[in-house]
């Protein structure tokens, strides 16, 4: 399970970084989204991976316990990331409207 998760995070982050460095604003925002998925999964995995463990102890076994704090952290991170990405999207559309193209520098040399 750890290997699968690590691979998934790696692939997401690598694709995200590659897209982030592309010249189109749409690619940049998709790249940022992929990186934020990777980071969210990373935070989620930081408490250790368990199946069927309780996040809240109710007189149960402390060895069989999933740390709830990373889950709370990842929830906050998702909400904040979502809001800022939405804001970025608005700026991206404004830039498209003002400059007439979707290049990150506002000027398109190729076409």
């Amino acid at each position: 399970m750890e290997l699968i998760l690590a691979t998934a995070i790696g692939i997401l982050a690598a694709s995200g970084v590659w897209l982030l460095l592309r010249p189109r604003t749409f690619q940049v925002i998709i790249g940022l989204t992929l990186i934020s998925y990777a980071v969210n999964m990373f935070i989620f995995s930081i408490g250790g991976l368990r199946t069927g463990a309780d996040p809240v102890l109710n007189g149960g076994d402390i060895a069989h316990y999933a740390d709830p704090l990373p889950q709370a952290l990842v929830l906050t991170a998702i909400v904040i990331g979502f809001a800022t990405t939405a804001l970025f999207l608005v700026v991206l559309l404004t830039s498209r409207g003002l400059t007439g193209n979707d290049h990150v520098d506002g000027e398109d040399g190729t076409s």
């Binding site: 982030l20 604003t25 940049v28 940022l32 990186i35 934020s36 980071v39 990373f42 935070i43 930081i46 408490g47 704090l69 990373p70 952290l73 906050t76 991170a77 904040i80 990331g81 809001a83 800022t84 990405t85 804001l87 970025f88 700026v91 991206l92 404004t94 830039s95 409207g97 003002l98 400059t99 990150v104 520098d105 506002g106």
Partner: protein
């Protein structure tokens, strides 16, 4: 009342911003009145906070949110450094309000609420004692700053804002990665608890902890615009409205604040042999590189806004280098430099804005802006604006006022005597000579002097160009409200020149407290057996 003092600087602007949004853009006077009330209240609270923490015996005011014990809940901690930064923020915001009265606030929506939200984020970031909470406040201040950076719209601003947002979103991801790595190793996010745990981290996971701290550090170094992570800064600050850019002068200092705080708390002398002074060399040499890059950029800058942007970079570099030295006397000097350079840079951005305010650029911006507004609304705004314009008090001798402020800014920024810029630089540089012979201290010392000299050259050239060469240049009208802000900021610097003793003593005590983190840790986590 006094027990809740630490959270008030966060709550007040939050409530005021919410109220301002409810009142609506139309009732300008009410919105403005709310802003003034909030900023005055903030200054009073920050001064009270400062008095509380500098009283004998009280090392830090700790506020447990929901009264949860610090191990489980989130704490706000106000020590001397936090109180100083909150006071600086509030004073800067209050001083900028008269300027924001001018034409800028009508160029786009919700200027005042956004400014209040920025204050929420800034004060929260200075007061929090929890890493994840720090992330949340950082996002609050960044979200507000995105709005403010775009204030006034226009192609240039949107394009610069796009880069600014992309860079900061990426930095936030790094922030999260660093925080989660640190949490994974230590199991806590409370800064005081982390400082207690770090000396005892097992060797096996220490590398992971260092990796987390380094990633976290990179996130803050992006905010402080360390070379090569700071290319976004001059462009964004040039494009932003002058009042906004002046407020942003403080935002690079948030990064410095966090690096100082975490560097000395988590990786100070008491962090054990493996971890103490972790990353301080990077900060020192990064600061040196930043100063070099900033100086070169400043000498090459062709417009006043860019020039001001590179001065921000130089100031960041100086502070980074000084923070990297991690010596008590140098830290005290660095804090003095931080306060003075923030005030002087803010004043300089305002003066630069005033000098450029009737240039072609702005009309250009407005022209592009039009299709994005409701046609009716634009006209209403414009006519209102024009009516107001006539009734404003206009200074009779703009060139005298602008020239005087410009040269005062230049003297402060270059650190020439007799103004407080010199005193701050002296307080920063003198201990570097006494410091044990580290190569970095000497390099930093030399570079600070060279950078000051180059600032003189760049500003002299700009001043000659603006005031003397173009004799037919028509100077823009300067309104009383706009010049009041500049006068307040420069007046504060002048006041600090005259009353240098008491503030310097406070800063020395602050540095002493920073370099002895035990008091911070014990204030947050009372030793076993003691009453909480």
């Amino acid at each position: 009342m006094s027990s809740h003092l630490a959270i008030l600087p966060v709550i007040t602007p939050l409530l005021v911003a919410a109220l301002q949004l409810l009142v609506g853009e139309k009732r300008r006077r009410t919105v403005l009145l709310l802003s003034v009330v909030s900023c005055v209240a903030l200054v009073v609270m920050a001064a009270a906070l400062m008095r509380t923490v500098s009283a004998d015996g009280a090392l830090a005011a700790v506020y447990r949110i929901g009264d949860w014990p610090a191990q489980f809940g989130i704490v706000l901690v106000a020590d001397r450094l936090s109180a100083l930064m909150v006071l600086l923020t509030s004073v800067l915001a209050l001083a900028l309000l008269p300027h924001a009265l001018g034409r800028w606030q009508h160029r786009g929506g919700h200027f005042q609420p956004l400014l209040q939200f920025l204050l929420v984020g800034l004060n929260g970031a200075f007061l929090t004692g929890d890493l994840f909470n720090l992330f949340v406040f950082f996002e609050v201040l960044l979200a507000a700053s995105y709005g403010l950076a775009l204030h006034g719209s226009g192609a240039r601003r949107v394009s610069a804002g796009l880069h600014y947002i992309a860079v900061n979103l990426t930095a936030s991801m790094l922030f999260l990665l660093g925080v989660s790595l640190i949490f994974g190793v230590t199991g806590t996010l409370n800064m005081a608890a982390l400082a207690e745990l770090i000396p005892n981290v097992p060797e096996r996971t220490r590398a992971l902890l260092h990796a987390g701290a380094a990633i976290l550090g990179v996130a803050f170094l992006i905010k402080t615009a360390m070379w090569p992570l700071g290319f976004w800064l001059p462009r964004t600050y040039t494009a932003a409205a002058p009042a906004v850019a002046a407020m942003f002068a403080l935002m690079t200092k948030v990064g410095i604040y966090v690096l100082l705080r975490l560097g000395l708390l988590l990786f100070g002398d008491e962090a054990g042999p493996a971890s103490s002074h972790f990353g301080s060399d990077w900060m020192l040499w990064g600061g040196v590189a930043t100063m070099l890059a900033g100086t070169i950029g400043m000498l090459g800058a062709r417009d006043l806004g860019k020039l001001a942007g590179y001065i921000v970079v130089i100031s960041s570099g100086t502070l980074l280098g000084a923070a990297g030295l991690q010596q008590e006397a140098v830290t005290a000097g660095a804090l003095a430099y931080l306060v003075i350079s923030t005030l002087a840079i803010a004043a300089f951005f305002l003066v630069a804005g005033l000098l450029a305010s009737d240039g072609d650029e702005e009309t250009d911006d407005t022209l592009i802006l039009e299709p994005y507004e409701q046609p009716g609304e634009t006209q209403a705004n414009e006519s209102l604006y024009a009516k107001e314009d006539e009734s404003r008090v206009v200074l009779s001798a703009p060139i005298a006022m602008l020239g005087l402020s410009f040269s005062a800014c230049a003297v402060l920024l270059a650190g020439l005597p007799p103004l407080s810029g010199f005193l701050a630089k002296f307080a920063l540089l003198a201990p570097m000579l006494d410091a044990d012979a580290r190569l970095g201290a000497g390099v930093l010392f030399t570079l600070t002097i060279v950078a000051g000299f180059c600032t003189v050259i760049a500003l002299c050239r700009a001043g000659i160009q603006i005031f003397w060469v173009e004799s037919e240049r028509i100077f823009p009208k300067v309104r009383l409200t706009e010049s009041t802000s500049v006068a307040i900021l420069l007046g504060l610097c002048l006041l600090l020149t005259l009353l240098v003793e008491a503030p310097l003593r406070y800063l020395r005590d602050t540095a002493a407290q920073l370099h002895a983190p035990a008091s911070y840790i014990h204030a947050v986590l009372p030793p076993m057996g003691a009453a909480p």
